[in-house]
Amino acid sequence: MSLNELNPHDLLNDLYVAACRALLEAYGLTVNVREHGGVVDSRVKVNYISVLSANGGGVNLSSMLKIDRDLVIRMHPLNGGDPIAQPDLEDWCMELNNQLVGRLKNKLIGYGAVVLIGLPLLLTGTDVNSIASPHSEVHQYSVESADGQITLTIATLVDPGVHLEEPDASLHEENVMDEGMVSLF
């Protein structure tokens, strides 16, 4: 491995956590992120779970976002108006995972990796846990905010021949539009 090469799994995990912080900050939340699940809240809470995969160039990843119902409501764009129906809360859980993986994808472009994002799925049930390929590296994070908790699980599988280099800042600027930006042609 050259000096500029990065452990791809470590990189994906770091970018994933950074993407989560940035996403929640964009929605006005200050969060504490801890690996390996953090503090387990023993109260029975309603939560929503979305799974979304992204693959390309030898990089395969899956994001499972499990979010407390109260936090989904807090982050929903129509919060503060009429009560939000359950299908709309489920939909927003999927959209949040979509925006999370989208941020990760945009960051990866600067490292020379281009992945295609699939369509988010919603899981329902009790005691739902992630299912990943036995060859995947799996990391779980607990994201604590004043309004509730998110449990993030990322499973990564990177082909042996894939090398991710330290990003070239100009490469990112030339090849990526950042979140919130508007461009008129």
């Binding site: 129509l78 993986v101 989208g102 941020r103 945009n106 930006m181 008129l184 042609f185």
Partner: protein
């Protein structure tokens, strides 16, 4: 009243965009995927601007743009992309297909409304 078509598989995104643009004085129509969006443009000649996501089931946004703008009667219809995608290669493809702009989610409500107003006001008047 001018009409905006929002095409996104997320109901929450459609609702949010609709709320922002109704406050700016627009009427809204909604579609949940590119095929529905294409069908609505074909059947409703009163649409003044389309806002379109990329990653959707049945037909993605880029394909929808290519099909919509491939028809002469839609030559001046502005299509603004609203997506999590920031990949410049996709943006170039959308521009080539006839889209007029690109916003990376999450969007700022005021900027979205300003951008839509600007694009509609700038639209060439057809005879």
């Amino acid at each position: 009243m001018r009409t905006i078509l929002i095409v996104d598989d997320s109901a929450a995104v459609r609702q949010h965009v609709a709320m922002v643009l109704r406050r700016a004085g627009f009427q809204l129509a909604e579609a949940a995927n590119g095929q529905e969006g294409l069908d609505m443009v074909d059947s409703n000649r009163d649409i003044d601007l389309v806002i379109c996501d990329i990653n959707m089931p049945k037909m993605n946004g880029l394909e929808m743009v290519e099909k919509v703008k491939g028809k002469p009667e839609n030559k001046t219809l502005p299509i603004l992309m609203l997506t999590t995608e920031g990949d410049i290669s996709l943006i170039k493809r959308a521009k080539l297909a006839g889209a007029v702009g690109w916003i990376v989610k999450p969007f700022n409500a005021a900027r979205l409304a300003e951008t839509v107003i600007h694009l509609i006001d700038s639209r060439p008047v057809t005879g």
